[in-house]
Amino acid sequence: MDHTPAHAAGRRLIQIALELPLARFTVRLAIVLRESVTAVMGPSGSGKTSLLEAVAGLRPRARGRIALDGAVVLDSAAGIRLRPEARRVGFVPQDAGLFPHMTALQNVRFGARGDTRRIDTALDVLELRALLGRDPASLSGGERQRVALARALASNPRLLLLDEPLAALDAALRERILPYLLRIRDQWGVPIIYVTHNVGEAIAVAGELLTLRDGAVEAQGPPLQLLDTASVAQASAGGVENVMRGEVIAHDAAGGITSLRLVGVLPLAIPLVASLAVGAAVTIAIRADDVVLATEPMTSLSARNLFAARVVAIHGSAANAIVRCAPTAGGSAWLVRLTRSAIDALGIAPGRDVWLAVKSHSVRLV
């Protein structure tokens, strides 16, 4: 693949100063985005979609200044307003917005202007080879999102805007766009602004999280540090996931176990998935509700995954407390949802050594 990875190309800067009157309020914000993926969260009707559409050039009433990697696409003061077709911003709306009179392949080809190599790469990265001849109406929601994402990528965008409808925890896992998003982030080097309602995904994908309320920035920062903001707490009340990536180490057919090693070093056992090749990269999700926390080493426990960790922080309200723990072995932090009474009874506080247990059946492959 000839696309330069994000880290090699250096972080690209996106500057957005925007004023956009809507029916209920005016979107008014000034942000600078430096991370390769920025997640945007906020209650519905907080201006998330309007923000994306304004950046894409689809809101004629938007005023302000928008610069993508140095290229100014909007500067009301200087009288600059690039048309959508000149902005090179890929936009994937909530409903995917596929052209209904074209097949999946025709949709992907639409923006590529005959650059077949780019089309091929997009089709491969999003695993669309089996869907090429299908009409949008016959695709599932997740498949439509993948086609729309490929279509946007094929147009060689400077920035990718993604409005994600299918990140709900109860959405079918195969419908998730998440694994593809991780691939795009790591292989393509195009910055992404990603609207999501899933805190776990935001933590896993985004270097930075932006929360909006009534068209204004509520908070901006690393996702884990924003767990206490109102919008994130509200979103996490429905459940939080630990989304992590790892690699298949071995299969134990007799024991019914496939062993993973998570990024970092942490080993993790999941129910046998013989179809996965050893060495294959996987993305897993474990609900914060499904992680058991103990203050003493657990013995004689049926859970296949036991490991030591240290409490880093306690987030959330009285009703919805999330304990963030760092595994002693290393790797990304784990979120554990506990009741306030359990936290009090166990005396859990930052710095405390704890043990975490995860049943292998609680691990879901995304």
Binding site: P84, E85, R88, G90, F91, P93, G97, F99, S155
Partner: protein, 224 residues
């Protein structure tokens, strides 16, 4: 019989030419009405629909006035030696004016049903406004546009009132099927009138049926 064949060919030629000529301005008007949200929208719509509700003879008189030598348009045409009234051009003009609103109404409804966000997405993918119209809006509104064109064509085939006012009813020069049926009936040639009626039924049926066939085929292809 050769007389009747000439009549049929003349009527078809007028209806075809009329439909072809209103196509581009009609699409533009339909798109404008479908997308425009500013002031004066209601007024524009009403003026464009006026020929639908006015008696065709009234439209004919208005056209006659506009084309008269004392009117600016008529004067200009006369100064350039262009004669319209009581020629085939008058027939064409009458059919165009009468069928234009029918085409626009149908196309406009079809354009309104196209999600404007799809056009927006096409723009983000590098299409200019014109290309987005040709590749997204028009293909998606195709059925309504075809239906409108067929309506316009059928209306042109049967136009009577406005035509008779500005083109007269001159056999071999401005007489169409509709006018000939009237003349034959008035002059007691009822059997010829009925023959012509049968021909118009066949023509109208063919037009409507082929439109139905085209749009149904397209639907099946999209659904497949």
């Amino acid at each position: 019989m050769s007389n009747e064949l000439g009549l049929i060919l003349f009527t078809l030629r007028i209806a075809t030419l009329s439909t072809a000529l209103i196509l581009i301005p009609g699409l533009a008007a339909a798109l404008l009405l479908a997308r425009y949200r500013g002031p004066g929208k209601g007024g524009i719509e009403t003026v464009l629909s006026l020929p639908l509700v006015l008696p065709p003879t009234a439209v004919g008189i208005l056209l006659l006035e506009a084309l008269g030598r004392r009117a600016p348009l008529g004067g200009w045409l006369a100064a350039h030696g262009i004669e319209i009234v009581f020629t085939w051009k008058a027939v064409l003009l009458a059919t165009m004016v009468m069928s234009f609103p029918l085409f626009v109404r149908s196309a406009r409804t079809a354009f309104e049903e196209v999600d404007p966000r799809l056009v927006g997405i096409a723009r983000t993918l590098g299409c200019g406004a014109a290309t987005a119209f040709l590749r997204i809006t028009l293909p998606l509104a195709w059925r309504g546009v075809v239906a409108g064109a067929v309506l316009a064509f059928s209306r042109a085939l049967g136009e009577f009132g406005a035509t008779v006012m500005i083109a007269g009813n001159i056999p071999g020069r401005t007489q169409t099927l509709a006018l000939a049926i009237f003349s034959d009936n008035q002059t007691g040639h009822d059997d010829r009138a009925l023959r012509l009626v049968a021909i118009t039924v066949v023509l109208a049926f063919t037009a409507l049926w082929s439109a139905e066939w085209i749009t149904r085929r397209r639907t099946q292809r999209v659904a497949a």
